[in-house]
């Protein structure tokens, strides 16, 4: 599978990263190089193999479903580039 400029555009849109026009071509080359290289995985027979998402899922500890944290809006907002009235400020969103 090779990806074209249109696909690079689409991925950058999904990832919310603006890519400058002049970088598109080299990024496309890099991505195709990496994807071409991982292609070798298709030669492994994985029928009847269950995916392994994490080491931890088998014996995760359980806890009571209770609130144990929170109630410090100032701390949450302390690092915000822009905050007002106890809220994060973003450009106006009207749909």
């Amino acid at each position: 599978m090779t990806i074209d400029i249109k696909t690079v555009h689409k991925i950058s849109r999904l990832a919310r990263i603006k890519i400058e026009e002049e970088s598109l071509e080299s990024l496309k080359t890099d991505l195709n190089h990496i994807l071409g290289w991982v292609e070798q995985l298709s030669e492994v027979n994985t029928s009847n193999i269950q995916p392994l998402y994490s080491m931890a899922l088998d014996n995760m500890p359980r806890r009571e479903d209770q609130i144990t944290d929170g109630n410090y809006p100032e701390a949450i907002l302390a690092n915000a580039p822009e905050a007002e009235f106890g809220m994060f400020v973003v450009p106006k969103v009207v749909e």
Binding site: I17, I19, D30, I34, L35, V38, A80, V93
Partner: protein
Amino acid sequence: MTKLTELTLCEARDGLVKKQFSAKELTQTHLQKMEETRSLNAYITETPEVALKMAAASDEKLAKNEELRPLEGLPIGIKDLFCTKNIRTTAASKILDGYKPLYESTVTQNLWDAGAVLLGKLNLDEFAMGSSNLTSAYGPVVSPWKIKGDNRQFVPGGSSGGSVAAVAVGSALATTGTDTGGSIRQPAAFSGIVGLKPTYGRCSRYGIVAFASSLDQAGPLTKDVRDAALMLKIMAGYDPKDATSVNIPVPDYEKMLSGNIKNLKVGIPKEYRVEGLNPEIENLWSQGIEWLKNAGAEIQEISLPHTKYALPTYYILAPAEASSNLARYDGVRFGLRTSGKTLDELYELTRAEGFGREVKRRIMIGTYVLSAGYYDAYYLKAQKIRRLIRQDFEEAFKKVDVILTPTTPTAAFAIGEEPKDPVTMYMNDVLTVPANLAGIPGISIPASFTEEGLPLGLQILGPTFEEARILNVGYVLEQAAQFKEKALKLRTSI
């Protein structure tokens, strides 16, 4: 008397107890070394005031002859991926510009509770993505190692590049690192120090800036094996704030360093003779086998059939998890913000400006392999192969107690001579990545040098939660290799 910056962590501990020097003196000497070696760019943030305050508190305890904490008064450095309360934390990315966490990571809290002194926050590859420390927004770290009669500067390895450089040069007694695909073991090998990646779940990930959550694990970088044992005991442990941390007791690793490996079964995986393995490293591997044999171990060839698929599997899974984890850097809640007319434009411009080239590349790959239509072909396929890789190790550990391999396929490369295409660069981690995918512990021991005089490391892998065992084998290798003694002869002073 040995210079204070040349002491190991354990030697400094013993010196403090015997009152040969004070915690303040010990800290000041390290701060001075930090200043003298600024050209290495190991530290992103220096915290001398915090350090002296913590050292003074330790001196008070030492004066009162109170029961001492295990790391009382010992100055260490922290990879700048661990959140430290009210102290700038950057992940070596522009996107976290100005970020000061309001909480402390569990691992660093454990270290402060044990009496350690914070010298500063150490440079790394941006978001720990790299094997050279060249992707840091704060500039590359320069290795303290040089070749005699050669002006080139070498990479310390990565991503924990600042952490290894500081230990190697003596601007910290020990440091913390994180290892997602080799980021502790590979730079430890490049820089001639000990680096331990514990079992997944052994150390809490709470408060560590996330890269690939199912693979990330914190561990120590130290001058020798005994120091690694001491550091790990403090760093490790169950943490209710990290659901993936495991609730089993932490043994006293230092006490378990017996040096006895008689009849221990050591596996040599034939698939690790990878393409591009430097002949000097092959020789070192054979030498390592001899050392362990001489100490009474039994050597066995084993097979880990899916080894060659580990690296491509990793380069699907790690970017996929990263693309999801790094979605939080949106210009709204913390760090850098680039204005845009719409919310989407704000996101797109902030992330374009804030992330470096390698991080963008990985987010893009991750986004692609998780996108509709490709998820099964890439992401799901890779998770299935991950199970096969873990099964390889499970089968192997039915036959052997530990596995011995080289840590890296080559020695460090010079800054400016790094591979230009990403895939060749990724090959640095070909021997370390399988342990992350399987969740097992691994340690890199400095063992020899290239003909030119650059360090090389051997890696020991063990079954889950057998850190004590790999430390003990590392201890045997360390004694056989006499690396420190050889290094003293070779080392060009800075």
